[in-house]
Point group: C2
Chain length 361, copies 2
């Protein structure tokens, strides 16, 4: 994540992974969520925080989710059901659960199928926010597999290339694979130029938006650095920004996300349906194709070659997807997660009102 | 494809699909390629030309392939073998065949597996140039499936974000899916900012390169419009161009391509191995997840919504991946394919020297 999205030093309070995990679980269970459901959601959000992906962690996520339970938009006590299944595929009705509750279950199913048949893929519909796609492929990595995930986010956010009407969501996608000694590869992106959540984070961090990150209301990319406009006063662009700079690649991959989630699950394109979202999880068994040890050694060699390569003028080093996130993971395992004081105060208030034990400092 | 890559009007000679297909097949068979192998390669290259993807068609491809047969880099009479197989996966040794010969075979296998088991994926190693990824997923579309393909192209072409040493190839990737009345969705891109072949095409068309399309030899993105530098005088950038504009997304997806092809096939990362390339083909049965009719109607609705959406100021219309290519397909089915006169002259010379029937005008 670019520096401009991070919490300023003066506003940081460090909290250990265990402490925030236990508290988050208690908070979710106080809303009626099962222990397993609370474990899933807390693990996903805090897993993101541990990798420094604060845009998809506790700070933005938890209170949003509690509001959605309160408003009935998400179901804290879902009856999660398999509605279609083959040896290698399955479709799950999430019954309005958060994506963070159904996601770990669905990826686990894909992994089990891949163990038996070489590959597995699971489609989930009628489910809520997934908190990015990064957490789930890492479940596959832990089993020496390649993991892959799409999520269809709420529609009408991102413009098509050359368009002025936002049609698709930010539709994130991720792949991850294990290495041997090197940190795993984890590629986890929004197909918009900037994730919607990151735009919202700038309101808390005070960072400005860079040229060609968003478009004005008529679809014109804004080509100077600006303060974040109010919601509804801007549109997201597909990654690339302009056609000349490849925004058709962002738009196309965003469409693939829509197709592999909302359309393939049968829920229908998000723009026409006031439904919850859909997700798609894939696990590939490395062993079905090649020797797992060789795969991991080859990954190490290429990843190390990238890390050791000469940077361009003005840059200190070259990294690969997942490398900096792993550095954050190591640092945060030792020091705790730096939350913005406003987030800690929110926990304290919320817990006081709801009579939940809370001792964060 | 951007206008700047197209053949200028004054240099066009129109040739029908059938005519160029038959001639290409004769030319390949004169080099010892089997009828099936020649059919595959001709179908792929001319399929690309029919969709207007001239960068991956006959013009750049055929003489390159003949040179590679001549030099022994590719094998015109390969013994293509399945070396590992499960119900849903397979690995094929291409024995030095062109990717355009093995690709249609591998995708066909993935489709057959998906028919039985919901999904299929096939890895191919020890194979040559695939001519982009677009043709193969369309094979799956013809069977009412979703098709997906990666290819690992020759290494040391594209810089990592922040890097000055080119490490990966341009590693293209594609997905395609059927619609009902609308042209199929076909998303087919290089993970570099511009495909290497397109840079080469500019030498023939005289077009200039736009800002942030390539980097200088030290890894610095060139931010003005320039003539195409000589080979070896520039590096490709991952799509996005600069980190601020999302080049880590291009670099990450390019790495996924390397991992799903060269590493998963066991061939090893291209940068360390003077081997032929690897490819990866996936077919998903729509029917395993949802009703095929509903999928296609939903695709129609979303694709039509995009086509009918209001363009941004200065643009005439909004399109989706595969739409313009389908327009070219329709036009070229009627008028023939507009080849550059230089390409036609090459055919005439080559056929004369090799005593092959040739009557293109």
């Amino acid at each position: 994540m670019l520096e401009r999205f991070k919490v300023p030093d003066k506003d940081k309070i460090f909290i250990s992974e265990t402490e925030i995990y236990e508290l988050t679980k208690r908070v979710l269970m106080a809303s009626g969520v099962s222990e397993k459901g609370a474990d899933n959601t807390a693990s996903v959000l805090i897993g993101n925080d541990m990798r420094g992906v604060e845009s998809h962690g506790i700070s933005n996520g938890l209170r949003l989710y509690l509001n959605r339970y309160d408003s009935g938009e998400n179901n804290p006590t879902p009856n999660i059901k398999i509605v279609k299944e083959s040896p290698t595929t399955a479709k799950i009705d999430g019954d309005g659960a958060l994506g963070t509750e159904t996601g770990p279950i669905a990826m686990e199913m894909a992994i089990e199928k891949a163990k038996k048949y070489g590959m597995g893929s699971v489609s989930v519909f009628n489910t809520g926010h997934l908190a990015g796609c990064g957490y789930y492929p890492l479940q596959a990595v832990n089993e020496d597999m390649i993991g892959h995930c799409f999520t269809g986010s709420p529609a009408k956010q991102t413009l098509p290339t050359w368009g002025s009407e936002p049609i698709l969501g930010t539709n994130p996608v991720a792949w991850a694979a294990p290495a041997d000694e090197m940190p795993p590869f984890l590629f986890d992106i929004a197909t918009s130029q900037v994730a919607g959540n990151k735009i919202e984070l700038t309101r808390r961090t005070g960072a400005k938006l860079l040229p060609s990150w968003i478009a004005d209301e008529d679809g014109e990319p804004i080509m100077e650095e600006i303060e974040t406009p109010d919601k509804g006063q801007y549109h997201l662009l597909p990654f690339g920004g302009t056609r000349e700079n490849g925004s058709h690649k962002g738009f196309g991959l965003g469409f693939v996300g829509e197709m592999m989630t909302n359309i393939l699950s049968g829920a229908g394109p998000a723009i026409f349906n006031d439904h919850q979202g859909s997700d798609f999880f894939v696990a590939y068994s490395i062993d079905a194709f090649t020797d797992v040890g060789k795969f991991k050694t080859d990954m190490d060699a290429l990843l190390r070659r990238i890390i050791e390569s000469k940077p361009a003028t003005g840059y200190e080093r070259v990294v690969y997807a997942g490398y900096l996130e792993n550095e954050e993971y190591v640092k945060r395992s030792k020091d705790g997660i730096p939350y913005h004081i406003e987030v800690v105060e929110w926990f304290e208030d919320y817990c006081k009102k709801n009579k939940i034990d809370c001792d964060l400092r």
